[in-house]
Symmetry: C2
Amino acid sequence: MNMSSSPQPQAPSPGIIFDTLQAYQRSVALKAGIDLDLFTAIAEGSHSLSAIAARIKASEKGTRVLCDYLTMMGFLQKQGSDYDLTTDSAAFLDRRSPAYLGTMANFLMSPHVAGLLENITDVIRHGGALPSDDGALAPEHPMWVEFARSMAAMMHMPAELLAEEFAGAKPIKVMDISAGHGLFGIAFAKHNAHARIVGVDWANVLEVAKENAKIAGVAERYSTIPGSAFDVDFGSGYDIVLIPNFLHHFDAATNEKLLRKVHAALSPGGIVLAPEFIPNEDRISPQRDATFSMQMLGTPAGDAYTFAELEKMFGNAGFARSELRELTPFPQRFAVAYK
Amino acid sequence: MNMSSSPQPQAPSPGIIFDTLQAYQRSVALKAGIDLDLFTAIAEGSHSLSAIAARIKASEKGTRVLCDYLTMMGFLQKQGSDYDLTTDSAAFLDRRSPAYLGTMANFLMSPHVAGLLENITDVIRHGGALPSDDGALAPEHPMWVEFARSMAAMMHMPAELLAEEFAGAKPIKVMDISAGHGLFGIAFAKHNAHARIVGVDWANVLEVAKENAKIAGVAERYSTIPGSAFDVDFGSGYDIVLIPNFLHHFDAATNEKLLRKVHAALSPGGIVLAPEFIPNEDRISPQRDATFSMQMLGTPAGDAYTFAELEKMFGNAGFARSELRELTPFPQRFAVAYK
């Protein structure tokens, strides 16, 4: 194999191996900073070690080690012996910030999610979770309530971006499949006063979506269909069907079955909008989309699909054409499929 | 606080938070690659997905996800749909390589080590492991046999570098405290045919050191003192006392007690050589040394000491002076203390 296109002139170094085998410490330390509300403490004016330690009720030694570690990971700045937030941690890790994302740690590092890779060698051998491990897809699994509560803040921006472009001003009927927190559908209701939204998810998860619809003041235009998207009656006449981060849980045949049902529920000229992790055809870029396939490998049949794969699913389900789009500046993509 | 010295002109991005909360996947994936012997399979000529999957006896899907992930993490190269090793993985992760380091994963990600940070918020609050968690310092703890077997390969280079500079050619008596795999003392015996080595460690660990001394052909000049370095009788007349990666387990007072005992066992003109993780006074550089304090926070009283702290311990123990030195090209440092 010709390696000339990617030369590595330097001597081999074991550093990357040592660092990667300890990379789990990064996740653990950031979650600890969030759990101890360290970032809020600093935002509120504690900058010296003794002040921060007193504020988060921790030992000075533990606080020092954590603050130094988080400085090296890019979440704090250190000047002399004082610490301050970075632009990113001020925006997203100060609990008082409207864009607070600290709750993400509860979901992304929950046993439900992190535990998916616990038996990773077996999972790789088998090509997915072992048959006994398909719990997350069980009806009313509490993991999805946790998801709806923990990931809502992260989904505010992409929901707004999609609604800005697609909500329009005419009366429309929008279905939000796997609504979760409900933010995607709710954003359409907020942007278009004539939009009626139908959220589909497990009944326990829809309670979270309904709470959020109430808070957003759109509850009277937000109805729900509780149950599995594969089993419930969607009704018909939808202009837009949102399928956010759902297709990655299933194999292609299962997705095609769902998409045929969605196709039938759409009005002529209707569209599907599916925010997803969509790696390029090389499957190694963009890194955030492409690495998601590792997370999905821990499920029974999930994957991060390339656009060519999604396009084929939409086509087999009867859609006329589909497109890959960016959600810039949010680091995710979405597919649009036209009936 | 004036932040002008480290401007962050770009808009805040949640990417670093998402990536860090998933960084644990990097450790898990690399360990899986090592456990499945993926790197050896590729080194032996399997480059296509189907060939690699067949060779490591895994599903093609699991193999594809793992190979793509390891490509993104810098451990493989992908050209079209074929994979090859990088310079680093060829040198250190091909099981047939004399510099194979895959065994490190067994120690660095063992429950003994990774488990230290399991209750990290409590550990930070308390400033170290809770009293019930001091198992690693218990006599004959099996963790240190695992260490001796798993980390030997990594320690070959620093041991050689130290022996090259300090072993000399005259008859010398060398003590290796917390000998572990024994490689530091053994390197001195190999470089100097008139060196006699005394390894100190738990009896179960010294079995590994004695095996390695035999393999290196220096067994007849390698004797041992089993037991705790704090309790055993060292004897006297040592020219060099090696204390590799040991002082970071204890608080300063405990280290000073040990160093006084070492000082007494040294001949006039004798020296201590202590390879260690030694952060700069800012405690945030070099990163590999400075991040080690997080690992040590999980122990009852350990830390990654700055050179100023080590210098004070040596001084209080009676040493005339001490120096900080680099182990280049190995990414660690060492302290030299002169009687």
